[in-house]
Amino acid sequence: MKKSESSRGLLAIPYAIFLVLFVILPLVVVIYYAFTNGDGQVSFSNFIHFWQSTKTIGTLLYSVVIAILTTAVCLVLGYPVAYVLAKGNFNNSQALLMIYVLPMWINFTLRITAMKEILTVLEGNLAYHPFLNTIICMVYDFLPFMIMPLYNALTKLDDSMIEAAQDLGATRTQVFYKVIIPLSVPGIISGITMVFLPSMTNYVVLDMVYNSTYIMGSLIGSYFSSYDWHNGSVISIILLVMILVVTLVSNRFTDSEEQGKARV
């Protein structure tokens, strides 16, 4: 008994090593750079610099707006798809699901390049709508990440709940808003976290659709390529804090939701 427990513990060692080497150590380095200045002294000037410049704040807001819009559009497009896939009367919904997540199997630069050509045909000149094109390509890129968790949450949803609501006289819309949506909140939350956070930093998409305005990710890249590790690290820390907040808030949502379910 004891032996098997310890050998099970051994299984965690490879990832533990990975974690320390590639997650914790770099994080320590980032924190060190963020809170020191060029002379190696502890300093908050980098943070002050970020919040004092209207340009960097502008870029923070710009990234947030891109992320919110991308997430919202993904949710609006992805929810019906996930619902139909999970609850529709298909013989082989797995195969259908595959079709929807198929784009994930294709290299993303290839996908965006193809999308770029399509948009060029539609718009004539991409440069006139950089913001719109960014959102379109971001949504194209991240949609599967929204569909998957939604689909999982909706397949787990107990049909008897829907039937019960219908028996008690709820209309179809009432069933949808009062039963299905609340019960799929965990899926919605994990879909949002999977789309919102990466879309704030995925500057490759912006570069590829010729959007010349920086988002947070490009700002980090630009600082690092001019050897400014300090300001680059500050932005990474700010992003990290935002991610932490979003995760904490969403955890609270899922927790209370699960408790609610238990009480029912």
Binding site: T56, A127, D207, T213, S225
Partner: protein, 473 residues
């Protein structure tokens, strides 16, 4: 099963020791030279069967590539084995970051400002005295480097030390604009403010590089002074121009920020490598480019039946070069290694190899050949025109003198004049070997000091970040 596993382990352990043993015994007489160069920046061989450059005395083709040929040449010449570990980098900053993060190289080929930065940080190993001895037959670099380029090198110094002691040139060129002559006139393309032109709004790209964008910006800012005759005719014209376009004082940088913000709103994009393809497909009609890339773009477009041209703006152009330099932490005190590194520079500077590289990558070598005429013959082979053929086709030919590059003197002897089609005045030949008036108004962009560098980087961030005030404008 278990036994088999153990024996397998033993075998692999033994073989590891065996190989390690081999490595050790070899290390003593094999010199390992770690070279890092730009991507696709050297002849890699494998030319097609019809790809032969037929010159007067020799015909040049390439099968194995310059690096492998160097290893053989070194063994034949010096009787020692050398193995080149060749790697590449994508930007100067990437190379610098690699080196400061602990990668060791012996010989690298960054651009002029990065050489200056490395020099100022005491990272470079100076060449040996022997490297500069012109009487040594194998010293192809000092014997063959263009007098014009070596003049440029001699004028540059960091902390009182001349750049030429630490760096040997490789490729050079100008910064200009590739344009589609069907849409844009030569006159329009010959000014940096084309980037601001509303007529071509969203149809022009600019390099996504702070230094290249800054150069265009500061040339536009100083337009009135630069184009003034009193300025251009002054004795200190070139010196003043250099100071002006290298100034990083607050007033200039703020003005450039404003200009670049307008450029950002006007251009199609800031691009790193999509510009060439977008020119050929016609998505954009003009594109800020280095001369070497321009040659490549023009060649590609020719293949697709599209004619493009290259212009070096009238205000000023950025004279850039990439050069070989040895790194202290790679070479150390290893005299053999240093010798091999210098030999590598000399080997790529052999006129024949300079031609191979030029043919393969489209850039212009700093080598003019000295006594050897191969390089000029190659230029003539590429661009020279036959008078009879031209007469039959009803084309006029023009004389294109490039003496300044081959002899370093202002005088035009006719020995270094290429008789060529008129179109070449705005095409590949012009991109590869600019005319004397272009080099007269060309300026090397030095490495800025810490303060200037910070100011310029901040300017660049401001230009690229989202401007909140645009919301209520």
């Amino acid at each position: 099963m278990k036994k088999r596993l153990i024996s397998l382990l033993l075998i692999s352990a033994v073989s590891v020791f065996l190989f390690a043993g081999c490595g050790n015994s070899e290390e003593e007489d094999v010199i390992v030279l770690r070279v890092s160069n730009w991507e696709e920046y050297i002849d890699e061989g494998d030319w097609g069967e019809d790809e032969v450059i037929d010159l007067e005395e020799i015909s040049i083709c390439s099968d194995t590539g310059v690096v492998e040929d160097f290893e053989n040449w070194y063994y034949e010449t010096y009787g020692k084995e050398v193995v080149v570990e060749y790697s590449t980098f994508g930007t100067n900053e990437e190379l610098y970051n690699q080196i400061t993060m602990g990668d060791t190289y012996d010989l690298v080929c960054p651009s002029e400002y990065m050489i200056m930065k490395m020099m100022s940080e005491n990272m470079l190993e100076p060449f040996s005295m022997k490297f500069f001895d012109e009487s040594v037959e194998e010293n192809y670099y000092v014997k063959g480097v263009s007098p014009y380029i070596s003049g440029v090198f001699d004028d540059l110094s960091i902390g009182g030390e001349q750049l030429s002691k630490y760096a040997a040139g490789y490729m050079w060129g100008t910064l200009g604009i590739v344009y589609n002559p069907e849409v844009i006139s030569e006159e329009e393309a010959s000014h940096w403010d084309l980037l601001l032109s509303e007529d071509y709004s969203k149809r022009i790209t600019i390099k996504d590089s702070v230094r290249d964008a800054f150069f265009a910006g500061i040339s536009i800012y100083n337009y009135d002074i630069i184009m003034d005759e009193a300025f251009t005719c002054s004795d200190s014209y070139h010196e003043d121009l250099t100071t002006m376009l290298n100034s990083t004082d607050e007033v200039s940088v703020d003005a450039v920020e404003e200009i670049l913000s307008r450029i950002k709103d006007n251009v199609y994009s800031f691009e790193t490598d999509s510009g060439k393809a977008d020119m050929v497909t016609g998505k954009v009609v003009a594109n800020q480019q280095w001369s070497g890339d321009a040659v490549y773009t023009l060649d590609q477009a020719d293949e697709d039946g599209v004619t493009l041209c290259y212009a070096a703006p009238d205000e000023a152009t950025n004279l850039w070069f990439d050069g070989w330099c040895m790194l202290k932490n790679g070479i150390g005190t290893d005299a053999d290694k240093k010798h091999a590194a210098e030999a590598f520079i000399n080997f790529v500077s052999m006129p024949e190899n300079a031609v191979r590289n030029m043919y393969y990558i489209g850039y212009t070598s700093v080598i003019s050949g000295g006594e050897d005429d191969t390089v000029f013959q190659y230029a003539d082979w590429c661009y020279g025109a036959d008078e009879e053929e031209a007469a039959e086709a009803g084309e006029t030919l023009v004389e294109y003198p490039i003496d300044y590059f081959f002899t370093g003197s202002e005088e035009e002897t006719g020995d270094y004049t290429i008789l060529t089609y008129e179109e070449q005045l705005t095409r590949q030949l012009f991109a590869q070997y600019p005319t004397k008036d272009v080099v007269d108004r060309s300026v090397v962009m030095a490495y800025f000091d810490k303060e200037g560098n910070e100011r310029i980087n901040r300017m660049w961030t401001n230009v690229r970040c989202f401007d909140l005030s645009s919301l209520w404008r």
